[in-house]
């Protein structure tokens, strides 16, 4: 019998998403270790999450500098001594300064954890921010900044956040040269005492680790002397400057474009529907923006839309880089798509494809220890129930084109849209 290639083979819809069991263990009063065991290789990742996001800054660049300098020296170890020991055991020590928190991560093989953990904790609890190291980091950061300022995509992002949230809002905090120059050791130490030593929210361990490693982590974090946070922050008011903001860069070949607006929180009842709608609009390779502007018209290498959930105020944006001469056409097409998705119900076939793709992507996202731990972090941060991910199946299956049309009208309304363009006039 010859093979029929014109008919797609039978396939199954993902009907179940599974989130593995994890443990919540008390470290000391109020402080918890979330422990998620998964995977087959003897690797582990320990994350300490601090309430040290941008909103906690008193000065610009304080949060990012404090976090990146946590490994730059303690009372007993220089930056080099710390780095040499951590590297010797093949481990990685990374810190991320985010809008809403700061995360310090240790990656290592389970067999080396006992050697790496004390170093990791020493760096976090006994940082002294040596002047010499600070001077070096400042100078290097300024050099990096001048390179970034040559990039249209960087300028576009910066101008976008400033106009979406307002100049003084923590989420719009971008360092200028003078901000970096004026940073002192005291600025870092005070931020550190208050928001790192006094701001540990929780610890998250993932991978395939031994019982002994877990016990060691519990004991040593307990002894490390962090205090955990009690004070919730105050929300800053948002002052959006809607409309078009054009910034001329004469030597540009392409223009960087970002169009967006303030959006709803992850805890909002419509959030998952909006995520799904965003996927269809510009969130994957089969999205409308991608199909029309890249795959049909060839105007760009990439165009996408992103729903960025943040604690205080989320935002939703469309981002692309388009040839100067095609820019107007590209922008017109973006608005056409926005108008269309608010006027016409999404056809059944398109809805099904997107739903199946989305469920498949959850399956991929819930595969492997670190990917699972990333999802668990979201559940902790936003106090989401344990069935949050498994429940996506029902949520998506119950979402109709009519629902999405309403969602589009609520959240893709062009009122209050901010449009930023960096390029040649």
């Amino acid at each position: 019998m010859s093979l029929t290639r014109t008919i797609r083979p039978e396939f199954h819809q993902v009907d179940r998403l599974y989130f593995p069991d994890y443990h919540i263990i008390d470290i000391s009063f109020g402080l918890k270790l979330y422990s998620l065991e998964a995977g087959t290789l003897p690797v582990c990742r320990l994350e300490l999450v601090f309430d040290a996001g941008l909103a906690k800054q008193v000065k610009i660049a304080q949060a990012s500098f404090t976090s990146s300098m946590l490994s730059e020296g303690t009372q007993n170890k220089t930056a080099l001594a710390l780095a040499e020991s951590l590297d010797f055991y093949g481990s990685y020590f990374q810190t991320r300064s985010n809008a809403d928190d700061c995360v310090a991560t240790l990656y290592c093989l389970d067999k080396h954890l006992k050697n790496c953990l004390p170093l990791f904790l020493e760096a976090l609890t006994d940082s002294i921010f040596p002047q010499k190291e600070l001077d070096i980091q400042k100078k290097n950061a300024i050099q990096k900044l001048v390179v970034n300022e040559k990039k249209n995509s960087y300028l576009c992002r910066k101008l976008y956040y400033k106009n979406i949230y307002g100049e003084g809002h923590p989420y719009a905090s971008f360092s200028e040269k003078r901000d970096i120059e004026s940073l002192s050791r005291e600025d870092l130490s005070s931020f550190y005492s208050k928001n790192i030593l006094g701001g540990l929210k929780y610890a998250l361990l993932s991978g395939k680790f031994s019982k002994a490693s877990q016990t060691l982590i519990l004991e040593q974090i307990k002894q490390a002397g962090f205090t955990s946070v009690t004070n919730p922050g105050v929300s800053m008011p948002i002052t959006t400057k809607s409309g078009q903001h054009f910034f001329e860069k004469k030597d540009s070949v392409q223009s960087a474009i970002r169009i967006g607006k303030v959006s709803i929180s992850r805890n909002h009842g419509d959030f998952r529907k909006l995520q799904f709608l965003n996927l269809i609009f510009g969130g994957y390779f089969g999205s409308r923006l991608m199909k029309n502007i890249r795959e049909d018209k060839g105007l760009t290498y990439g165009i996408y839309s992103v729903l960025e959930p943040l604690k205080d105020a989320s935002n939703w944006y469309i981002d692309s880089e388009i040839n100067n001469k095609n820019r107007e056409q590209g922008i017109t097409e973006i608005y056409k798509e926005l108008d269309n998705i608010r006027r016409v119900e999404i056809p059944e076939e398109e809805l099904n494809t997107a739903r199946n793709y989305y469920l498949g992507s959850f399956l991929r996202g819930l595969d492997g220890p670190f990917s699972l731990a990333d999802r668990l972090k979201i559940m902790i941060d936003y106090k989401l129930p344990n069935n949050y991910y498994p429940e996506f199946v029902a949520t998506l299956n119950n979402t109709t084109s009519q629902d999405l049309l309403e969602t589009a009208n609520k959240y893709f309304d062009p009122n209050n849209i901010v449009e930023v363009i960096i390029g040649k006039k």
């Binding site: 290639r5 797609r8 050099q143 040559k150 494809t353 399956l363 991929r364 670190f370």
Partner: protein, 412 residues
């Protein structure tokens, strides 16, 4: 330990199966043995442009991605100097969709002018976004032709220039396809929650009837030994001076490959590395200084790339680098430092093996190199490197007559 089984179909397609029942997904990786090194020097960038066309519809399936997404899958691809690699991940019980789609595009593409025109534009925009509209974006376009005089590694995978991409036509697309995209010129890896029997059955069902083709691999000359130092000055509208040094090293299977990789870690990887501590922190000559190897199959490059602190001259910066290289050439590296970079490599290998897709890609590439067992023995190769090997490798590689140097000046 990555376990796998290997077999070959009658049409010459090599198939490797790797079973992992701890995951709910399955990866399909299809490697074609063609990269930018197989291109005509007057028609560069074609292998990569072609990769884009592979998503533009095949003989019996008009929309590759839509069909894949419908079954919950996702795909992407990349082109390197040596290979073009396509990959798909799907819920394990839908993997047959992957077999259907990838076998149909191996059987025959839908050669159409519109897809070609659109993807030419997309790739030209990619060229501009990555190489022209970025500060220092054109470094590869400058350093490769300096380092390679005859070997096709002298152009980047995106191509030498936009005109080459513009000139591609459908005839070229067809002949490239029927020459290189043949079962006998490809390696298929299926990894994940699928049994060997299912893998065998599906491979035969979907790929079995694709005819073997007479693939002719385009010949090219190997790069002759460089005999004297090469240097070029470039002036551009960038904020900082940048120094690039490229030394010729062995190919992926040459004995010095692992030693070079470790030398690159010793000099440039992480905060305990030599360059960072001596040249970035102590001497304050650079704000960033990186080292890496190109990892190509034919003899490749060992690269040093750094941005100078304002006020530092190229001569000062370069002299300091040479001093470090001379030290490597005259002093054995301490046991501790060697253990450190090997431990780091072990971590990288294990973390890299976590995802089933990575394991699939690794298997395909190792098989392409001619030794699939490399996925398990790689660490042994690193462990067998000694301080003597490192010293000898450094001595023979770090010579200025083996080096191309680029002074990338910030235009005042």
């Amino acid at each position: 330990m990555i376990t796998y089984q290997k077999f070959q179909l009658d049409n010459g397609l090599t198939v490797i199966h790797h079973y992992d029942n701890s995951t709910q997904i399955c990866a399909l990786n299809l490697l074609y043995k063609v990269g930018s090194r197989n291109e005509d020097p007057e028609k560069t960038g074609f292998a990569h442009l072609f990769e884009h066309l592979m998503f533009g519809g095949s003989k019996n399936v008009s929309e590759f991605d839509t069909e894949l997404q419908m079954a919950g899958g996702e795909s992407n691809a990349f082109t390197s100097n040596d290979i073009t690699n396509y990959y798909v991940t799907l819920p394990a019980n839908n993997i047959e969709t992957g077999f259907w789609l990838d076998s149909d595009r191996m059987l025959s593409l839908d050669f159409n002018q519109k897809s070609l025109d659109v993807q030419k534009n997309v790739v030209i925009e990619e060229f501009k976004e990555r190489y022209l509209n970025q500060p220092y974006g054109d470094v590869w376009l400058k350093i490769l032709p300096l380092a390679y005089k005859t070997h096709p590694y002298n152009w980047p995978t995106i191509g030498k220039k936009i005109e080459h991409i513009e000139a591609a036509d459908l005839d070229q697309v067809q002949s490239f396809f029927f020459n290189y995209y043949a079962p006998n010129n490809a390696i298929l890896v299926i990894a994940g929650n699928i049994t060997f029997e299912d893998c065998q059955r599906l491979a035969n069902k979907w790929f079995g009837d694709i005819p073997k083709r007479d693939t002719i691999i385009r010949k090219y000359e190997q790069e002759p030994t460089q005999l004297e130092p090469r240097k070029e000055d470039v002036y551009n509208d960038v904020p900082l001076d940048m120094l690039v040094k490229a030394y010729h090293m062995g190919g992926r299977l040459d004995p010095d490959y692992y030693a070079c990789d470790l030398l690159s870690d010793i000099l440039g990887s992480g905060k305990s590395a030599r360059f960072y501590n001596r040249l970035v922190k102590e001497k304050r000559l650079f704000s960033e200084l990186d080292t890496y190897i190109s990892g190509d199959v034919d003899p490749g490059l060992f690269l040093i790339e750094g941005k100078l602190i304002k006020g530092v001259t190229f001569e000062q910066a370069e002299a300091a680098i040479m001093e470090e290289l001379d030290f490597l050439k005259s002093h054995h590296i301490e046991e501790n430092e060697l253990t450190k970079v090997i431990n780091k490599t072990e971590t990288n290998i294990l973390f890299g093996d976590i995802s089933v897709l990575n394991r699939a890609m690794k298997l395909a590439f190792a098989e392409f190199l001619g030794d699939s067992e490399l996925v398990n023995t790689e660490i042994d190769h690193y462990l067998s490197v000694t301080p003597e090997t490192l010293l000898e490798t450094a001595k023979s590689m770090f010579n200025e007559s083996n080096c191309s140097t680029l002074y990338y000046h910030a235009k005042k």
